[in-house]
Symmetry: C2
Subunit: 397 residues, 2 copies
């Protein structure tokens, strides 16, 4: 049997969300992104979840009509075949609502938006629902943290096998494939959800030597070239060679929740400069651990960490190269890999207990490659509780 | 080195596209979906490709600025950091254009659409660019067919290993993981692109027995439950057992291009009714082969194939169950898994030479499971040239 989300967990998400709707002047929120649907219903369907500012949510299902949604979600179901039935279905279930209709404007396609706005709800003002959803999902429940812990254990399990797999002459792709295989056998769901049409990825990036210096076309520090310009990221056909940094940066999902980890490996040895970068990374981790606490603005943390890098004279190589460096040092994880909050210079949020973050300081050393470290951890009043637990060292094979 | 798309291949795509723009009254098309960017540039960046109805395209790059786009694409590059620079950059490169600004409205997020329409191009009418792109991409060049042929060969190679892997007690997930591993070693890029925010998938569906009867929340005939309602599709933890249909439906990508194939397996035996469904599927394939020719409307083909199914009394079980059946018997493949044309009752297109289609008749037999067959083939005046070439039989292990 499928392990379902406890229904009191789901109710406990919807009630505060309804308060946020009311506060924002949204009378009814209508969502359909799979990650958002799953968070507020416990299932994923082809359909919309309607959440009124007051009253009971309704899951509007187009497909599948004969399946499991009823077992997995505490909400009432209504069925439709064509989008044009939505206004009537909503009118039958809810009194005319005051305020705006909330839609996921950061991800809803423009054509669908125009149809809803111009044809189906022409009298109703429309507001963006996504900031409310993303802010709520930023702080995790105990149940959610447990799922991320299990995702982290899948990563630890797969990474534990890496030293046995890595050998000279193996290609980045062969190493990636072997690790992906382990992740799947350990229960990784495969799909790693990313929010936004500009984001795409396949499980992660396995890079070696100077292949690690090719920066991404998506908003991630590491990139790689892949093996075709059709999908220029991740493992290439380059073979692993002694003396080069080998980075493994992968995501794993358990029950929808993702954990994210990067570890370094090398055959035989690494250049001194790589070890210097590694020592600086450990220092940045210690500083992050010492300072990441509820109440701290991520912008302050960001500035202090960058200050250390500047003091040591490494700013040119940090988080990318030149204009292609990314503007964050870490990111929230949950049902998506790119959740709030981001550790950026101008984050609008303050750290709170039970935010779960991936912290990923990375250096890009010309002629050498990428040296980085990443763990997924939970903010607590006592400090960061790390969920990924593979030892923080460079594994020399 | 990366294998790049020949630049005359790219030019030969843009010239007829410009004629389509002019015909549609679009003065300038602006696109950024990775699949569309790759088709018209030969690379993927964080940025936009501007294609004027007359004149030379310009690739507007936000990230990465220092990389390979220049080597991979024949078009001039311009760099920007913030979206608000776009109107100036375009004004510097092009005279004021007549007609609409074309945007990919089927996939562009509403928030971005609103920003472009209301803030950045408030004087310019906007039109949907995607139908033009999708129609052009429907017919493949010789170069593209060669890439799909190589993707098909990856599938054939991975499926050839399936009979050795399948054994009683192995879980669907373990079988899926072993096949995914083979696909990757054979050069599958991993990511299979799907158009639309309502579509998501991880490589494919490995299903057995009645697990194959759970229909999808995406627009695909087969579904499965996965192992969490967070991602309820594909392989579950159910173990393979003798006498059940085992279906393997996977996609593989080479150089961006996808091929799609389904084959059936069974441990020891299958019920008579499953064999009857199989015989009918072979008959549908023969009919498809006999009738799919340039000039034939897919709607006619659809009706004739359904007519055979009705005559045999199998309509209740075809392409899904009850209201959850899908409305197509096949779909185009290329840079995306869900390309034009679809073989539906009311397809607006006519079959043309060098369309590449996945044809996938599938029956859903209560208490038994799913019985289906799928191949990827190219329409030619002489008939269908099948690109996937694994023998069409039920593999009894």
């Amino acid at each position: 049997m499928l392990e379902t989300v406890p229904s009191d967990e789901i109710s406990a998400r919807v009630t505060p969300f309804q308060a946020r709707l009311a506060e924002a002047g949204i009378g009814l929120g209508l969502m359909r992104l799979p990650a958002d649907l799953f968070y507020y219903t416990g299932t994923v369907v082809d359909g919309f979840l309607a959440v009124p500012a007051t009253g009971s949510p309704l899951l509007l299902v187009r497909r599948p009509k004969e399946r499991l949604a009823a077992m997995e979600t505490p909400w009432n179901l209504a069925f439709y075949q064509d989008l044009k039935e939505l206004p009537t279905l909503l009118a039958e279930s809810y009194p005319p609502w005051e305020g705006a209709l909330g839609l996921e404007l950061d991800v809803m396609p423009a054509a669908l938006y125009r149809r809803l706005k111009e044809k189906l709800f022409p009298e109703t003002p429309i507001q963006d629902l996504s900031p409310l959803i993303r802010r709520q999902r930023m702080v995790k429940s105990a149940y959610e943290i447990e799922q991320i812990r299990r995702a982290a254990a899948i990563l630890d399990g797969a990474f534990a096998g890496a030293p046995e797999i890595i050998r000279a002459g193996l290609s980045e792709l062969e190493l990636a494939a072997a690790l992906e295989y382990r992740l799947r056998l350990l229960g990784h769901q495969g799909l790693v959800r990313l929010r936004g049409w500009e984001m795409e990825m396949f499980i992660g990036h396995v890079l070696s030597g100077t292949a690690g210096l090719h920066l991404a076309y998506t908003d991630t520090p590491s990139g790689g070239l892949g093996f075709s310009p059709a999908f220029p990221q991740g493992a290439s056909l380059k073979k692993l060679a002694p003396g080069e940094p080998i980075s493994i940066d992968l995501g794993a999902c358990y029950h929808g929740y993702v954990a994210d980890m990067t570890r370094m490996y090398a055959l035989e040895s690494l250049p001194d400069r790589a070890w210097q970068a590694w020592d600086l990374i450990l220092e940045l981790f210690h500083r992050f651990e010492a300072e990441a606490r509820p109440g701290v603005p991520p912008g302050e943390l960001y500035q202090r960490l960058w200050e250390i890098v500047r003091q040591r004279g490494w700013e040119e190589y940090f988080m990318g190269l030149g204009p292609d460096r990314v503007s964050f040092l870490g990111h929230g994880v949950g049902l998506e890999l790119n959740e709030y909050p981001f550790i950026t210079a101008r984050s609008p949020f303050t750290l709170e207990a039970d935010m779960v973050l991936a912290f990923e300081p990375k250096f890009f050393l010309p002629e050498i490659g990428m040296i980085g470290l990443e763990d997924t951890g939970r903010i607590t009043p006592q400090g960061v509780e790390w969920l990924t637990q593979t030892p923080r060292r460079v594994f020399i094979v």
